[in-house]
Symmetry: C2
Subunit: 207 residues, 2 copies
């Protein structure tokens, strides 16, 4: 089955399963039932089993999954075994916070470089380990370092031109924090995180 | 139709439509076709029309939607006409950035107060307009100010106890940035934004 035929939601849940498996590994748990793993991930066990069938046959009836083996398979599938350089573009308040966010490192990602239209050394950037370069050096950096993943945190009206440059230089996957709908070629994947939209959406559920 | 029967995805897309309508209003556009609005929102026009049918009959065949009228209806549906106090719990790097993030204000939200286990006045909090209180004052604040919405940005292992307190005090909707699956009663809504997971998920799509 080709990558395009597997539902994006299934891929997304693999990352959640992987996080749960990591916790089990830390606690030296060797096997886990599909019910227990599904419950920890907040999904139904039928969903878990269906998601895994896209990638092979796992688990032993009555015994459950071997935690280490399943985790290794998910690493392979998700491509998290290979080092992927990631860049961040737009070092405003949100961008600077993302550079400091330890959660990325914990999951095996390191942001190699950041770019900003105005990379001044202000207090916000004090103590950052990641170098911040002028944005006009971005394309060259992407090409020379073979960067395929980028985090976008520029203002909404600046987003599309930056994305066009990224894609032309070789970026294939973008985590987008800019509050705008991006136009990209079919082979480029965008995950959008729109913080204000998430909050607005929640207000609907308040009685 | 009750709120519970309307797909959450449809509610989510209403916020996206609303943002597009706001842009049209800014540009003094009076009517918009369903095709044009759908395209700006990054969805198919059949999807847009279906989403709107949950809330009434809109638009005139051949003329499209009246931008102002549709925007007003969506405001009503989404509850964004009423002021909603929002609190933020966990003022680490990410929490502090969210307090500074101007995007929330632009969409009509203001964070009334923030809480942290250790609300020291460090450099990170310099210049913040939002007061930061010790977390043991959270429950009282929620009750006295009738807070129904909260943003959670505490470390994963601290999240569930904080959520239990929030929910007991009256919070009905949580925007969760903590990398963990939260257990909440059925009537409480959680939108989770897991930044590392989003990035990990993208690495799958890099060839």
């Amino acid at each position: 089955m080709s990558k395009a035929e597997i539902p994006r939601k299934s891929i997304y849940r693999l990352s959640i399963y992987q996080r749960c498996l990591h916790k089990l590994l830390e606690n030296e748990v060797e096997t886990v039932s599909s019910e227990a793993l599904a419950s920890a991930a907040g999904v139904k066990s039928t969903q878990l089993r269906k998601d895994l069938t896209y990638f092979g046959q796992f688990g032993t009836r009555g015994l459950g999954y071997n935690v280490k083996a399943l985790s290794n398979v998910l690493n392979e599938v998700l491509g998290t075994t290979a080092y992927q350089p990631v860049i961040l573009v737009g070092v405003g308040n949100l961008g600077a916070a993302l550079l400091r966010y330890s959660g990325f490192n914990k999951e095996g990602f390191e942001i190699s470089a950041a770019f900003d239209a105005n990379p001044v050394r202000d207090r916000r950037l004090n103590g950052l380990k990641t170098p911040v370069y002028p944005v006009d050096r971005m394309c060259e950096f992407i090409r020379s370092k073979h960067v395929r993943m980028a985090i976008l945190a520029v203002p909404g009206n600046a987003a599309q031109p930056v994305v066009n440059d990224m894609v032309e230089s070789g970026v294939q996957a973008i985590l987008n924090f800019s509050p705008t709908v991006l136009q990209v070629p079919e082979e480029v994947t965008v995950n959008s995180v729109d913080l204000a939209l998430e909050l607005e959406n929640l207000s609907y559920f308040v009685r």
